[in-house]
Amino acid sequence: MSVPESVVLAAPIGEPAAARGAGYLWRRFRRNRLAVLALGYLVAVHAVAALAPSLPLPAPETMDLLSQFAGPSWEHPLGTDETGRDVLARLAFGARTSLAVGLSAMVMAVAVGTVLGAVSGFYGGPVETLVMRFTDGMLTIPTFFLALLVLAVFGSNIVNVVVVIGLTGWMVVARVVRAEVLRALPQDFVMASRALGVGEARLLVRHLLPQAWPSIIVAATLGVAYAVLTESALSYLGLGVQQPTPTWGNMLTGAQHYVWKSPILAVYPGAAIMGTVLAYNALGDALSDTLDPRHAGS
């Protein structure tokens, strides 16, 4: 995963910003204009994706070989693709699929990463060594190729794609959570809780993990960006979500073949991918600055 840890790790000296309440956080977030724009864009895209079936769009999978490569018109605001399917509808439904995969994969990666990171940081010793070696190992393997391999071998449906992306993107989350747990452990409240008889598991889950929330949120946001990008690459190569289900990635596969005939077809889905990934990256960066300012870039 390409999330740079230095962006995600917190170094709060004194009260973390998150403790001061939502209004304060929002005001700080608002200062970053790019981030606010990004958030607005993301809300819009997700709304379109969620409401796609209810929108007045032609069906995305209806082919009409009599009107291939049509230009923009009232019926097809963005024209049609190589088999006469409406581009706008495919973009909207593609958003549905791409974002669904992106979010689900992120949830999986964060879940796996948090568990592994928390357990390794908290229990230390051989558990920590084992988990960390495993993490390092996973970071060494060319994960994209591994994902390709698994999908080629086990078939590429949506579930497999989500699982594969999730299982190749948890490593950074694990490292971050482990670092946070290790940072939180020496604090006094841990000793106090133990003295009060709080069980170890409860201590980990209800007291230590919440310390890691800001970093996890940032990692999750950047994780969605990574997941969407990876899904689009896999679908583009033909090993991700299969036709006729539209996803931004596989729209580009078709468009590439006809790049000499109708180059504009390649622009729309790619721009959608880039816009969304950019927005999530910007959001993640801004969240990082808002929630834990100590390590802010500038």
Partner: protein, 315 residues
């Protein structure tokens, strides 16, 4: 130091072993095999005969043991698709991938350092904002989309650059031809590392420029250029070594997509084709080769880190 290197190499070997087991299990665990993929209507008895010939009907641990025994002697079998010895197939492709990835990485580093430095020195000016936005775009743009856009511009519209392959077929070799084929793939592959590195260099330089020793040097009257070059840069580039270590696997992975789009005859494309056609020997060979390269790169990075920063000692 020698003990450290040996220890890391040992760990690397163990890791390679684990990777080989995992990959082997994955590819053999799924139904269907190379015979089925060549011809889905193949006669079942013929398929079984093929499997027996290739030794695919034996239990997986037995197959693995045989593979491992051969592998340590340097025999990685023969490709099912190409009927060539795997090592030779890999060997043919490796220089091409090295050429592409090396050029891309070189481009990225050569451009990221000045860009990041400029960005840091002229913080919060137009230059900085432009570079930051560009860097953001660079890490967000899908590699294959950038490739398609460049193809549209340079091949379809302008006709300046070829859109596929490494050399023009049927024409005698010329460096110009190679460079024209290399240009777009290298630029595409370099984009993400360039963007990522620029952000890092900038952040690193900003931190270094705030340090006391820079202030001292300035107070002593050291000219700004000299200050940047001799004091700031050297210290700012230390973390970059680590980033390069992290970027290497990603670069090799990114090469997969880039090589596929531009039909570049490299390792990445070979690996993808092998995955799709269940060419087991090539899959194993390619995965291990790439992993080995990454392990070595990480080791080199860590050693370099120890050399550049005298505060770090290698345990």
């Amino acid at each position: 130091m020698r003990a450290y290197v040996l220890r890391r190499l040992g760990q690397g070997a163990v890791l390679l072993l684990v990777v080989s087991v995992v990959v082997f299990t994955i590819i053999h665990a799924a139904p269907g095999g190379p015979a089925l993929l060549v011809n889905p209507d193949v006669d079942p008895s013929m398929a079984r005969e093929m499997e027996q010939l290739l030794g695919l009907d034996q239990p997986i641990p037995v197959q693995y043991a045989r593979w491992l025994g051969n592998a340590v002697q340097g025999n990685f079998g023969r490709s099912y698709q190409h009927s060539l010895p795997t090592l030779r197939l890999l060997g043919d492709r490796v220089p091409n991938t090295l050429l592409l990835s090396g050029t891309a990485l070189g481009l990225a580093v050569l451009l990221a350092v000045p860009l990041g430095t400029l960005s840091a020195v002229y913080r919060y000016t137009v230059v900085d904002y432009a570079a930051t936005v560009a860097a953001f775009c660079g890490v967000s743009i899908p590699v294959f989309w950038l490739a398609i856009l460049l193809i549209i511009l340079f091949s379809v519209t302008l006709g300046w650059l070829p859109s596929a392959g490494m050399l023009t077929v049927g024409v005698p070799f010329s460096w110009g031809d190679l460079l024209r084929h290399l240009a777009m793939p290298a630029v595409v592959l370099a984009t993400f590392p360039l963007a990522q590195l620029t952000r890092y260099v900038r952040a690193s330089m900003v931190e270094v420029l705030a340090q006391d020793y820079i202030r001292t040097a300035r107070a002593k009257g050291l000219p700004e250029a000299s200050l940047l070059g001799r004091h700031a840069l050297r210290n700012a580039l230390i973390p970059m070594v680590t980033v390069l270590g992290v970027l290497t696997p990603r670069l090799l992975g990114g090469a997969v997509v880039t090589e596929t789009i531009f039909a570049w005859p490299g390792l990445g494309r070979l690996a993808v084709e092998a995955a799709i056609t269940r060419d087991y020997p090539v899959i194993m060979g390619a995965t291990l080769l790439v992993s080995a390269v990454v392990i070595v790169c990480n080791l080199v990075t860590d050693l370099l880190y120890g050399v550049i920063d005298p505060r770090i000692s290698l345990r």
